[in-house]
């Protein structure tokens, strides 16, 4: 028999061991998230999935569901904090969506739309990280990386290749390629790798595939992020 907690007043059933985010997901309730992916262990870096549990904020991707919890998610207060976090991610990188091949298919952008983000608000960092075009089939633009580590986890845990890693400290933390040259072309990375498809933003891009999907038919043109399969927006 499954147990329950409440999420914004709605009763959610869960199996012991599930996180709040997993249980909400299974119940068809959207909680914004960027670094969580159902196939991998949670990472807890983006903090977009923050909810209030019994009055205290916590990451719903790492917090186990417990019977009788009172969870708040879709509130003005929490959405305002999520918006601020999204703005921080935008100013930390160079997110020029008008020329980004991921535009319309990007989870960061779609999350910003979902949260009604009209501006980047903070002063921009304008980082300068060199693009890696050494691989014949894939291009890396590190200036859009949100350090979600999905590519790291996919390459290590699924592909067994350990192609990517996070390196450095503080604002200098950045994604690196595990090759003595530091170049993707000098690894055994291929397009068939799981890591080639998990990036939620426009860092890991297939070459010669950009702008193939007409505007209006991209993922988030058709339905906003968080819209359920039934087509109803969260």
């Amino acid at each position: 028999m499954s147990q329950t907690f409440t999420l914004d007043g709605k009763t959610i059933a869960f199996e012991p061991g599930q996180t709040i985010l997993q249980a909400a997901d299974a119940a068809g309730v959207f909680i914004p998230h960027l670094c969580y992916h159902p196939e991998f262990k949670p990472h807890g870096s983006c903090k977009l999935c923050t909810v209030k549990v019994n009055g205290r904020q916590t990451a719903s991707c790492t917090m186990r569901a417990m019977p009788g919890m009172a969870v708040e998610s879709d509130t003005e207060e929490i959405n305002a904090e999520r918006r601020a976090l999204t703005q921080m991610l935008f100013v930390e990188g160079n997110h020029y969506c008008p020329s980004c091949e991921k535009s319309g298919n990007c989870q960061l952008q779609a999350t910003a739309y979902h949260l009604g983000m009209m501006s980047t608000h903070y002063d921009h960092f304008f980082p300068n990280r060199a693009v890696d075009a050494s691989h014949p089939e894939v291009l890396l633009d590190f200036n859009r990386c949100i350090l979600c580590s999905l590519c790291v986890r996919a390459s290590r845990d699924v592909d067994g290749k350990n192609v990517f890693a996070l390196s450095g400290r503080g604002i200098d933390t950045h994604l690196i390629v595990n090759a003595s040259s530091g170049r993707l072309g000098d690894t055994d990375f291929t397009l068939a790798d799981k890591a080639a498809e998990v990036c939620p933003v426009g860092v890991i891009l297939k070459k010669r595939q950009g702008f193939a999907v007409p505007i209006g038919e991209r993922t988030y043109d058709k339905a906003p992020i968080g819209a359920t399969t039934a087509g109803e927006a969260c």
């Binding site: 008008p98 020329s99 739309y113 501006s119």
Partner: protein, 184 residues
């Protein structure tokens, strides 16, 4: 819109700083709704009028483009000083836009790269004082003056602009959501 009888017309000023005029074109894309708008507003300094300087007491300033040179700063400050509400209009005004992709380059090197003599042996960077100097970087509008509203999009669509303006003109807080909210 149901306009009250003989209301004072709102004064709108618009400018393009380091813009491409695309946001203004998208504004004109509201098509015949421009006539409806003309009944409610009058245009002050704008690329579509002949007024050289913004007059005092403008109600609304639409600023297209980021801030890339000294003249942009002067124009932006003039609009800010005279307009009650200043809007960062379009992606370049909001975050510098695609022109800000020069921000990791040295501006001197950019100029010497572009203004080489035909045989490439020397550079001839224009140095007439008439010309405004480039800033070290392209800045979003809100890093130079205070901004009241942001309207993203490259450009914002005509329907987005119309929704935004009609919200403002009827005294509502502008509210742009999916599918009108776009950054690209």
């Amino acid at each position: 819109m149901n306009a009250p009888m003989n209301p004072r017309k709102l004064r709108i000023t618009t400018t393009s700083l380091s813009g491409c005029f695309g946001c203004h074109m998208s504004f004109l894309d509201i098509d015949e709704r421009l006539l409806e708008l003309a009944a409610l507003v009058e245009f002050d300094r704008s690329p579509i009028t002949d007024i050289k300087h913004c007059s005092q007491h403008c109600d609304l300033a639409l600023v297209e483009g980021g801030v890339c040179n000294a003249e942009n700063v002067h124009v932006l400050r003039e609009l800010r000083a005279n307009a009650k509400i200043l809007v960062a209009f379009g992606a370049c005004a909001v975050n510098g836009g695609l022109p800000a992709q020069r921000n990791h380059l040295d501006v001197g090197q950019c100029l010497s790269q572009v203004y080489r003599t035909p045989d490439g042996s020397a550079t001839a960077i224009p140095d007439d004082p008439e010309l405004p100097l480039l800033l070290d970087k392209v800045y979003p509008v809100n890093e130079v003056v205070r901004v009241d509203y942001f309207l993203p999009g490259c450009p914002p669509s005509a329907d987005t602009i119309w929704k935004f303006l009609t919200d403002l003109l009827t005294g509502r807080t502008p509210r742009i959501e999916h599918p009108l909210l776009k950054f690209d």
